[in-house]
């Protein structure tokens, strides 16, 4: 299989889906490279390059640069979906849900229910997320717990290039609204990506590592860190199941419970802050639906209850680390 970056996998998926379905449109800030400049056309494909080449291929009617008006961007996606299109909107950073939240959680998420099932809302909102680049408190957040809490939204958080392609394909073809998180630190990471049409169903976790002793659940960049910790412990004969839920809504709880049947020990790794997080969400469900399977306290490895700091050392300490995950696994083994 060809090896590609997470960024390229997303980009080729957008190209392929837009080829396939003329109803798909893209909108966001600088997604067409920045309209109205004095330089070359399509100077860039969004600031992370994910929409590169779309404007040249599909033109300005389908690849729409917008003003800095996030409520209008998400609202326009909502309206275009009600009117029969399949918009893929980009928030330049996930942190900007703050200035567009109403359209996401009061409008898009609720249309189908409020209107008695009489419409579908095939909107995808893509948003780069996560810390690791010293972008500071307002450009580094992992706010997927907030979105996961909203009924009506589906939430996707791919951890590698292949899943990025497979899940974005599914997201675009899904008739429900999907919030699609892309971890900034993963954009340059490479992996083997299946060619051709490749769609991964939502609500099916990936079993990234198989083991006996502990069940580790991690999302996005934390999967990479968990792999490091787990592979290191494997040398000592401590083996873990590593489960990447891939979508937090719907969430594949069954795969986690199945794994717990053999391990009985659970470590949850979540880059987001601890309160009302996906980590505590899964922990809560397990404590209620998988209680008998547990041999030891559930261990959660998350960021602290604090904004994301700027300084390099502080940010490094803020984000859960392979070492922290390793320690957590040892701890649940010991208890």
């Amino acid at each position: 299989m060809p090896v590609k970056t997470y960024r390229d996998a997303l980009n080729e998926t957008l190209h392929a889906e837009m080829e396939r379905d003329a109803k798909i449109i893209i909108l966001g800030e600088d997604v067409a490279g920045g309209a109205g400049g004095t330089g070359v056309e399509e100077a860039a494909g969004g600031i992370f390059g994910v929409t590169t080449g779309l404007y040249k291929k599909f033109g300005k009617d389908r690849v729409i640069d917008t003003p800095i008006s996030e409520s209008a961007i998400i609202g326009a996606a909502a309206g275009a979906a009600l009117a029969g299109y399949r918009p893929v909107a980009e928030l330049m950073f996930a942190d900007f849900i703050g200035v567009s939240m109403d359209q996401l959680y009061n409008q898009i998420a609720k249309f189908r229910y409020m209107f008695g099932g009489k419409t579908k809302t095939p909107v995808v909102v893509r948003m780069p997320t996560g810390a690791g680049m010293n972008m500071g408190a307002q450009h580094s957040q992992t706010i997927y717990p907030i979105v996961t809490s909203v009924p009506g939204l589906k939430v996707v958080i791919p951890s590698n290039a292949a899943d990025a392609k497979g899940l974005l394909t599914t997201a675009i073809r899904d008739d429900d609204p999907v919030v699609f998180f892309e971890h900034k630190a993963l954009y340059p990471r490479k992996a083997e990506v299946p060619d051709g049409d490749y769609a991964i169903p939502f609500g099916e976790a990936a079993l990234v590592r198989e083991g006996e002793d502990v069940t580790v659940v991690a999302l996005a960049r934390m999967v990479v860190f968990a792999e490091k910790a787990i592979d290191k412990l494997a040398e000592e004969g401590i083996t873990c199941d590593l489960i990447d839920p891939r979508t937090t809504s719907p969430l594949d709880l069954d795969t986690i419970l199945e794994s717990l049947e053999s391990t009985g020990r659970l470590v949850l790794v979540d880059e987001s802050t601890p309160r009302c997080s996906v980590a505590s969400d899964i922990a809560g469900m397990v404590a209620s639906e998988g209680f008998e399977l547990l041999k030891a306290p559930i261990k959660m490895v998350t960021a602290p209850h604090a904004p994301v700091p700027f300084a390099r050392g502080l940010e490094r300490a803020y984000v859960p680390s392979p070492a922290g995950i390793e320690a957590a696994i040892r701890e649940v083994m010991a208890s």
Binding site: A72, A76, Q103, F115, K154
Partner: protein, 324 residues
């Protein structure tokens, strides 16, 4: 003055306005009985605006509406019984009783939804307009909002985006003098909503919203401009609401006789009747006949709604997603 519309269209317009009026006046009565859940915002007094604008729209044109949306729904062709069922929270309502008065939508009629968030609609309208512009069939989207909504940032963003993308959108502002309890002149810094359009690069008109023909004329030009690819525009209609912000509102913020006076001086139905009869465009008897028909329609709607069942509890978590 020559006939602005053929007789059948004039009758249609009157029927729409009268239906809205009867619908709301009847709700005012029924709500007082406690039979209707939630809180409801009546459109009485503003009928000429919804009617004058929607006379130019067909089922493939879109509108987005507000918490005060009954008039927009009726003018856009929603079935009054389906609406009444929804407002009563019944299983056969337009939204299966899950939406209610503030969330009525009817996609077959191009009615993309009332909205309980002030300023929630206009961004959605720009999206519908992006869609119809891509479709290239000359369809337009009308975005209804109040004077109060003209201070919500989302609305300005939508207006600017519509200009940037030259979208076929009409931004309608119904200035009924109040946003909830707060006066328009207090909350709108410029005291002139239409004047804001220029700041976003779009033309605007301002008309007396109690004059159906004034609304019809202004809306006609602006909508035609949008259909012809001329881009978005703004229409401010001054008007008044004959009832409180919501049913039950004591309205102490309004002068005692304010509404009584407006009912005298700014009743769009009285005014329309006088205009068309005096001009000899219609016979009073034709209008009287319509009044009777409309009264029956509303009776039917209410009695149907009263007798209808609520949604089954099994519907509680359906239609959250298509697949999950």
């Amino acid at each position: 003055m020559t006939m602005p519309l053929p007789a059948d269209r004039l009758l249609k317009a009157y029927r729409v306005m009268k239906t809205i009026r009867e619908f709301e006046e009847r709700l005012h009565v029924e709500i007082a009985t406690g039979a209707i859940p939630g809180f409801t915002h009546l459109y009485s007094g503003q009928e000429a605006i919804a009617a004058g604008i929607c006379m130019h729209l067909d089922d493939d044109d879109y509108i987005v509406s507000t918490h005060r949306g009954h008039g927009h729904c009726i003018a856009k062709g929603c079935d009054v019984t389906g609406m009444m069922l929804e407002i009563y929270g019944r299983a056969d309502g337009l939204c299966k009783g899950k939406g209610g008065s503030m969330h009525i939508a009817d996609f077959d009629k191009g009615m993309l939804g009332a909205n309980a968030i002030v300023g929630g609609g206009p961004p959605i309208a720009t999206g519908a307009a992006i869609a119809t512009k891509l479709d290239g069939k000359g369809k337009v989207t009308a975005s209804f909002g109040g004077d109060g909504s003209s201070n919500q940032g989302t609305v300005f963003e939508a207006m600017n985006l519509a200009v940037v993308l030259q979208l076929p959108t009409l931004f309608v502002f119904e200035d009924n003098g109040y946003g909830e309890h707060t006066g328009t002149d207090y909350a709108v810094g410029s005291k002139d909503i239409a004047g804001r359009a220029a700041g976003f690069g779009m033309p605007a008109k301002k008309v007396d919203g109690s004059d159906f023909f004034a609304v019809l004329g202004a809306a006609g030009e602006l909508i035609q401009m949008a259909r012809d690819g001329g881009g978005p525009s703004t229409l401010e209609c001054t008007t008044t609401r004959f009832y409180g912000h919501f049913e039950g509102d004591p309205q102490r913020y309004r002068a005692k006789d304010e509404v009584a006076n407006f009912r005298e001086t700014h009743d769009c139905l009285k005014r329309f009747r006088a205009q068309v009869v005096d001009a000899g465009w219609l016979e009073a008897s034709q209008l009287d006949a319509l009044d009777a028909e409309v009264a029956t329609d509303i009776d039917t709607a209410v009695s149907t709604a009263q007798a209808a069942p609520e949604p089954a509890v099994s519907e509680l978590a359906t239609d959250v997603y298509i697949t999950y």
